[in-house]
Every structure is written in C-alpha cells, then in structure tokens.
C-alpha cells in the first residue's frame, strides 16, 4: 500500500485514477508504463492505475464504484463492457469527477472518449494487408475476442466489407470467439485448418489471437502458405513474425493511449477546451479529431495506428 495513497482527501493535489480491464497483462502493463510516465512528468497531480484481477466486468465495476466514492478528481477507464459502467460513470460525473474513456466509442456517460484511430480504418487496413499477402485470392476467416467486444466486431466487419472488393476472397466461418486465450485460439485455428484445408488467411482481433493462430500455422508448416494478420503486440509476436507464421500485426501503443487519456483528463479538469485537430503532444495523438460523441461528451480519434511486419516491427519493440 503506497504511502501516497493514504489520506488522499487531505492532499491538495488532484487525484487521477486510471482503471483498466485487467491488471497485469502485457497490454495494460504497457499502459501502466504510460500512466507512470505521465505521473512523473506531471508532479502537480497524483496519478495511478488500477484494475481487476479477473476479466470480469462486475469486478471492474466495483473498483470504479469505490473510486467514485473516494471522489478522485479524474477517472480514466478502459471499460471491460462500456454498458456495464454507464450508471456509475453517470454518478461520477454528477459528483463532478472528470471521466475519460478509451476503446468505448459508444460510451454515453463520459466527458471524452479517445480512440487511437478510426476503427473502420483499422479493420480495413488489416484486411488490406491480409489481401495483399493472400494475393487477393482464397478463403479466409476472422477471430474476435468475444462476440460482445464491440471494437473487435467493428474491425472484422470493416475487414469483411473491404474484402468484398476482391472477387477471389471468400470469408468462411467468420467471427470465431477466442476469449483472448492463446491456447484455445490455437485449438480452434487447428480445427478450422482441418475443416478448410484450402484456407489462406486469418484476420484476428484480440491481443493473444496471433500467438495462438501463429503457433497453429507454424506447427502445420504452413508459413508462407497461410497468411495471418491481426492485432498483436510486437514483443510477444516477435518470434512468430520472424518465422513467417504471422504476416503482419496491427496495434496502437497502450503507453501513449494511457498518457493521452490522462492528458485529456487534465485538460478537462483545468476546464480547457478540446478542439478539433488539437495536438496532445503524445506520439500518435498529434492531430486529434474531435466530434460529438454518443452522449454529452466528445469522441476523439487519434492517428496512432501501427501496422508492422517482419521488416519493421523492431522499431516498436515493447
């Protein structure tokens, strides 16, 4: 228990909390790096990150509830399920807490939701990469973390839309659920490969999917014959990128997303305006578009998309 945390109310410094989907996994550890960097660079505030120990929306809700009760000044949330926390975020805003969300472009009760990029653009970009790898020919399939994760669905839908451009590409058994579990994804990928021996491509969404599918491809000796493009982090994917099992990965750096969320929150706390095209002075968020969101707040979109392959992933290692 950090000493700084005790007696927060008595301190003058504003308290800025970041709540992630699950603590400890590489993605949010990376975000934690960003939050810490932000805290170090901004000594006038206390900033920290917290998150549940299980991938359970109910647990995340409870953490947010308690933070609202504690009356932190700003709350940056990456919702497990945006719908679940609508109620508590509304209460937070009623209490005067600044709320910023990430990966939740349908969140109503938020002052600002920041997306790293336009989701449809991202889905299209991944699919375009897949299409070029497949030579615009053959069967392909898609994976999502779960049918409930909205962004994943947006990506694969945009991908499917994109593939319609190419008459030779057929989508089969779309939207397999991976539950972000590499082992399960591996088994499913093998099964799909058996069912469709002529399958030529995978487009995946959750962070662990490329690892599972990549392993299945590698073990079947199908590198170069079957293409795999999906969301993934450079470090875990490195080996499979090298071996050719993964054709390309797409991602955005959660570190900068973490910093961006907190910067926006700080701006809002200081009652500064968010203007279209503004520069957050964070990599990938130099020219942020600002639109009206689904609720009272704004929807901000950055340009933090990265698509990396064997040739250039080393530039992003984290």
């Amino acid at each position: 228990l950090s000493g700084a945390s005790a007696g927060l109310q008595a301190q003058e410094k504003p308290v800025m909390a970041t709540v992630v989907k699950i603590s400890g996994i590489p993605w949010f550890d990376r975000m934690h790096v960003g939050v810490k960097e932000f805290a170090a660079a901004t000594p006038s505030v206390t900033a920290f990150q917290n998150g549940p120990s299980n991938a359970d929306a109910a647990q995340q809700l409870r953490i947010v509830e308690d933070l609202v009760a504690r009356k932190v000044n700003t709350l940056a949330v990456v919702p497990m399920d945006p719908a679940v926390i609508e109620g508590v975020l509304k209460r937070a805003m009623d209490r005067g807490i600044v709320v910023v969300t990430h990966e939740a472009d349908n969140q109503k009760n938020t002052n600002a939701n920041i997306e790293a990029f336009d989701n449809a653009d991202y889905g299209r970009a991944l699919n375009e990469k897949l299409a070029s790898c497949m030579g615009k020919q053959g069967k392909w399939t898609s994976f999502v973390g779960s049918l409930g994760s909205r962004t994943h669905i947006q990506w694969v839908d945009a991908g499917a839309e994109n593939a319609k451009k190419y008459a030779g590409m057929t989508l089969v058994d779309a939207k397999n659920e991976s539950f972000d579990d590499a082992n399960r994804t591996y088994e499913k990928a093998k099964e799909i490969l058996r069912k469709h021996p002529d399958l030529r491509g995978f487009q995946s969404s959750a962070g662990n999917d490329v690892i599972g599918i990549g392993r299945a491809i590698e073990e079947a000796g199908l590198q170069g014959k079957v293409c795999l493009v999906g969301t993934g982090l450079p470090n875990p994917s490195a080996k499979l990128l090298e071996s050719g099992a993964i054709s390309a990965i797409g991602f955005w750096d959660p570190k900068y997303a973490g910093i961006a969320m907190n910067k926006i929150a700080k701006l809002l706390l200081e009652k500064k305006p968010l203007t279209d095209g503004m520069n957050l002075e964070v990599k990938g968020y130099e020219k942020v578009s600002v639109k009206k969101g689904p609720g009272a707040g704004v929807l901000m979109v950055g340009n933090a998309m990265v698509i990396a392959d064997k040739s250039n992933y080393k530039e992003y290692l984290f």
């Binding site: 005790a6 007696g7 359970d56 109910a58 926390i85 609508e86 109620g87």
Partner: protein
C-alpha cells in the same frame, strides 16, 4: 430460555467494526463519508443475495450447494430483457416495463431454480453435479439467446430507481436486501417450512419418516434460490442498464466465501441469516478498503484466501478448545456436534 452468545456472531460483529475503524483511520475519515457508505451499501446486495441462495441450498443437507446462481441471474436478466423489450417500450411505458421486467426475471429465476430442485429431488442428482450442469446450461442458453453480446434493458425510470435511488439516504437496493434477508430469516426460523428445511438438513431419513414431503421442500428451497437469482438479475439490470451472460463470473466463489464466513454448516441443517448479512458486509468493507488504499487486486485475492483459511482455523480451534482437548483422533461413531451433555 437463556440467550446464548453465538461466537460466530460476535466474531462477525467485531470484524465489521474492526475493518471500519481501520479503513476510517487509514483514509483519515474519508471512508465513513456518507457517499461511500451509500456506495458500499449499494454494492452489497448482489453478492449478499447470491450468498443467501448458497446458504439455503447448503442447509438442505446432503451436500446441497448452488453453483448456478450467477449463471441463472444472468440468464434471467437476458431472457427478461429480450422478452419484455419485444413487447413493451421502456420509454413509452416505464412502469409497465419495470413491472414486466421484474416479473419475468423472477419467473425465469423461479423456473431455473425449480429445474434444479426437480433434478435433485426427483432424479436424485447430487446437488453439486446438478448445479454444475445447470450452471453451464443456463450460461449457454443466455449466450444463445443473446448471441453473446450484452443486451440493453432500456432505461425505464422506475427500474433504474431500484439500484440507483435512495430512501431516507439509504440505497433502495440495500433496503430490498434487508427486507429479503429479514423475510427469509423469519421464514427459516419461524415457519414450518424453515424448521422442516433445517430438520431435513440434519437428517433426511428421519425427516421422511416424520412425514415431510422432502421433494417439495427441496424444490421450494432451490426455487427460492432461483427467485433470489431473479432479484439479483433485476439489480444488475437496474444498475448497469445492460445484462450479459458472463457478468459476475467471479461471484460464485465470493458467495461461497461469504457463506462459509457466516458459519453456515456445509453438511446442512444450520445457518443464520444475520451472520450471512454481516459476513457480506465485512467482505464489502474489506474490499472497498483495499480500493481506497490503491492496493493491487491480486493482494486482495490473496487476502481473501487467507481470511477464509484463518476463519476455518478459528472455527476449528473454537471447537477444539470447547470440546475435545485430548484426542488427536476425533470420535468417530455417530456424528455428534458439541452440545451440553446434560442428562439425568
């Protein structure tokens, strides 16, 4: 009749007070701010009601347990949301919507609970196996119905009030929890059904020979668990505006933790509602305290495991010091819990 001091109750009261004091001191008073108290009170009911369900199932004896509570709550919520939204609009007719939603959720809960009861009473499935199966079945049906995505309930005013409103500064959901605890507590203690349930939990054969309709008691008990799950579904829907098949996957173990901390006998026949209540609040206080102190949630898991084990240890120690001091091998013949050996 002398009022007996129940060590369990004393322990739970003191642990509640202790945590509250600790948290208040560590947070320099912020913890006992009225908003936080309200917020915690509003968080207790979901878990508390599920724990009552587990307790009911446990008291029926014969290895009774309900592993399907959370799954059934999610199913009730999903089914009710889909069904009611198909016929009524939350915005046009908020009251009708609310009443219909609550009714359908509780009905689905009841049906699920009765299914458990029927399988256990008439087919003779072991409760743990049966509710393991129905847990998957209920979850599965919820997934199939909703296609795996969260289902929007529609924000009917009165429905939203249930989890978010206050009466006299107390969250309505907490009032509901108190009322339900009180009702079930009274039923267990004073109604023929409750007495039969506990007697049956003590000795099912003797209960049958005393003319109890065992199947009916079992079905009623699991039916009650189901209705409680239905109520939980209403609370979830009201608080989150949305219901989803995988909500609260970590609740089951916590509900069991609450029940065990409340001193409910796992072999059946004994349990006190007040203890469940206090056990639920103790866990909530502890968990909120951790969140106030920015403790990692992994530490909290660790602490909960520790707490449960320490708790089991103190129960064992009490038993030992009260009763058997010398034996390393406990008496084996007939199961005889501690009691005053007071015969002529």
């Amino acid at each position: 009749m002398k009022p007996k001091t129940d060590p369990q109750l004393a322990f739970l009261i003191s642990i509640n007070v202790l945590i509250l004091l600790c948290a208040a001191i560590l947070s320099r008073g912020a913890f006992i701010d009225s908003y936080n108290l309200q917020s915690m009170a509003a968080q207790v009911p979901e878990l508390g009601l599920l724990a009552i369900g587990v307790m009911l199932a446990m008291s029926s004896g014969n290895g009774g347990i309900d592993l399907s509570g959370t799954a059934l709550a999610n199913l009730s919520g999903v089914a009710s949301a889909l069904l009611v939204s198909a016929f009524l609009s939350a915005d046009a007719d908020p009251w009708a919507f609310t009443v219909a939603f609550v009714a359908v959720a509780m009905l689905v809960g009841l049906l699920g609970g009765v299914l458990n009861g029927l399988l256990i009473a008439h087919l003779g499935l072991t409760p743990i196996l049966c509710t393991l199966g129905t847990q998957m079945l209920f979850t599965g049906v919820a997934v199939v119905l909703s296609g795996g995505v969260s289902v929007r309930v529609g924000s009917a005013g009165p429905l939203m009030e249930i989890a978010n409103g206050l009466v006299c500064g107390v969250p309505i959901s907490f009032v509901i929890f108190c009322v339900i605890s009180l009702l079930i507590g009274m039923t267990l203690k004073f109604s023929p059904f409750g007495i039969q349930l506990f007697l049956m939990g003590t000795n099912a054969k003797a209960a049958r020979y005393s003319g109890f309709a065992l199947s009916r008691i079992l079905i009623r008990t699991y039916g009650m668990c189901g209705v409680l799950a239905g109520v939980v579904a209403v609370l979830i829907a009201s608080r989150n505006v949305n219901v989803k098949w995988d909500y609260g996957q970590s609740y089951l173990l916590i509900a069991i933790l609450i029940t065990v901390m409340a001193g409910v006998k796992t072999e059946g026949g004994y349990g006190r509602m007040i203890c469940i209540f206090l056990s639920a609040t103790a866990l909530q206080l502890l968990s909120s305290m951790f969140n106030f102190l920015d403790a990692s949630n992994f530490i909290r898991d660790f602490a909960w495991g520790m707490l449960l084990l320490i708790f089991l240890a103190t129960m064992r120690y009490d038993l030992k010091s009260l009763f058997i001091r010398t034996t390393s091998i406990p008496t084996s013949s007939v199961q005889r819990p501690p009691a005053s050996t007071n015969h002529s």
